[in-house]
Amino acid sequence: MSEVAQRGVRGFRQVDEVVWELPAAARGDMRVPARVFADRELIGQIAADRSLEQLQNVATLPGITGAALAMPDIHQGYGFPVGGVAATELPDGVVSPGGVGYDINCGVRLLALPITAGELGGRAEALVHEISRRVPVGTGHGSALKLTGAALDRLLVRGPGILLAEHGIGTAEDIEHTESRGCLGGADPAAVSERARARGADQLGTLGSGNHFLELQRVAKVLDSETATAFGLRPEQVTVLIHSGSRGFGHQVCTDYVRLMDAVLARYRISLPDRQLACAPLSSPEGRRYLAAMACAANFAWGNRAVLAHRVRDSIARILGQKIATGTHQVYDVAHNVAKLEHHLGRTLCVHRKGATRAFPAGSTEIPGGYRTAGQPVFIPGSMGTSSFVLVGRQGAMEYSFGTTCHGAGRRMSRTGARREITGAELRRRLEAQGIVVRCPSNRGLAEEAPFAYKDVERVVAVVEQAGLAGRVAQLVPLGVVKG
């Protein structure tokens, strides 16, 4: 056993090539162990910030079962670490809005065009430019589809299905190829504040800022041809990856319910090491009401990505022609900030995934029929200018991580740190020198998302593959990026 494994990293001992664990007994308030999926290089990076301390705090939540889990892309967040998974058991385990985060159902949608990069040729720049014209970025407004009152309520309850039925946005296959078919049950618009409605009113079909992006890509490598074929992916194919969430609507839902739960902690005799972990029993009125509001925000987010995809198809139609737009299919859409009631190991659990992706294996009835023999698609965006990966859920995810895998490369450097290293203008120049078209109105925002601010995505996906949580299917490389 290596010296690092024997000595441990901040008390975490290596129990497997890619698994590190801190027993529950390590801290008086921990109810379950804290477990990290990482190789030696990544655990060193993870230990550099407060991620591991935050993971231990998650292990103190009432009703948490198994272990507080961290994916290899874990980094320091607020309350929960980003890249964390916590499953709590009904009826008296808790639900924590901070365990989902402000951007409820932030997620990723992959579209595949029926052409190769060679066939796209010199039109990549025109396509990226057209998408940037049609997709509002930044703080957010300018949605061409403003839903209010009962029309908004219908979206909150039914998700993008209502956009197809009432506005002709998307296709039936898009909805079939969306996690939970784009609709979490139990959504109740009465649980959503007027402030949330006001923040989201003008933001359907907008990208946002921060790490949200829209990327034009090509399939650089197929790593599992049988699964890639099942997903409708082939070498050199052009794809578009959309990364956004529930915008101000979801942010306000989180704000409202963290506040509410902070105020009732004493009533439920809950003591926490960090107030941002504020929570309430799943069976309590506050817990049930949060789940009803969160489902609204999740359905809003799927609606948001459906409108973004619609705008991408419009852009494709204008630049490449209607036939190519019509032939553009949605591979899948996954959430990576959400809490869901799921059945694991014979029990109903509330699985909090914050910066983590559901990764159900072949055979799951939650997976669309066409993918059921392959497994659920998962998308792992890399940092800007580097590869992204298409993965597929594996059986190990059900055994070791409540059906979960990682969600990205994971930050390792602060935003100010990234800005100290490079200016936005210089980064733009370097990306363009690699042949990547960049459309981003903010040099500051661009610099903050510099590739070196993130962990090595190839190492991250290698860990989840080795751990048996997900398998690599295809590697995508960027041709152009639109950022907020």
Binding site: R199, S209, G248
Partner: protein, 131 residues
């Protein structure tokens, strides 16, 4: 009064020092204006804001969320404070804003590392913002 941004892997952590409690709220407003980073200086307006919370740290959170709400729903970036009155249960303030097109979004102010405390002859506060 002064503020600075502390290192945080993914989000931003604000630290404020001020000689008075009011100064903490004014500094938080100026820090947020800098963070959302708007260079368009269109119509100028004043707004009265009223925020309630018994605990000062939570009041700071509510104040920041109120300013975020103004940015996001009306494109109004509050730049300075004309008047601010603190009471045991909250604050009332008149803030000067410009209507702009801010590029950087704040999702919410969090309870993580939230502090508002006496420090020497003045006050010190910290708050982490999800960006």
């Amino acid at each position: 009064m002064s503020y600075r941004w502390l290192e945080h892997t993914a989000e931003v952590e604000l630290e404020i020092e001020a000689s008075s409690e009011e100064g903490v709220f004014v500094a938080a407003l100026r820090a947020l204006a800098q963070l959302v980073g708007d260079d368009r200086r269109a119509e100028r307006v004043s707004r009265e804001l009223k925020v309630d919370a018994r605990e000062r740290a939570v009041l700071l959170l509510e104040w920041l969320d109120e300013l975020v709400y103004l940015v996001e729903t009306e494109g109004l970036v509050a730049e300075d404070v004309e008047r601010i009155e603190l009471s045991d249960g909250g604050l009332v303030a008149i803030v000067r804003c410009h209507r702009g097109d801010p590029r950087h979004l704040v999702k919410g102010a969090t309870y993580h590392h939230l502090a508002f405390e006496r420090s020497g002859a003045g006050f010190r506060a910290t708050v982490v913002l999800d960006v």
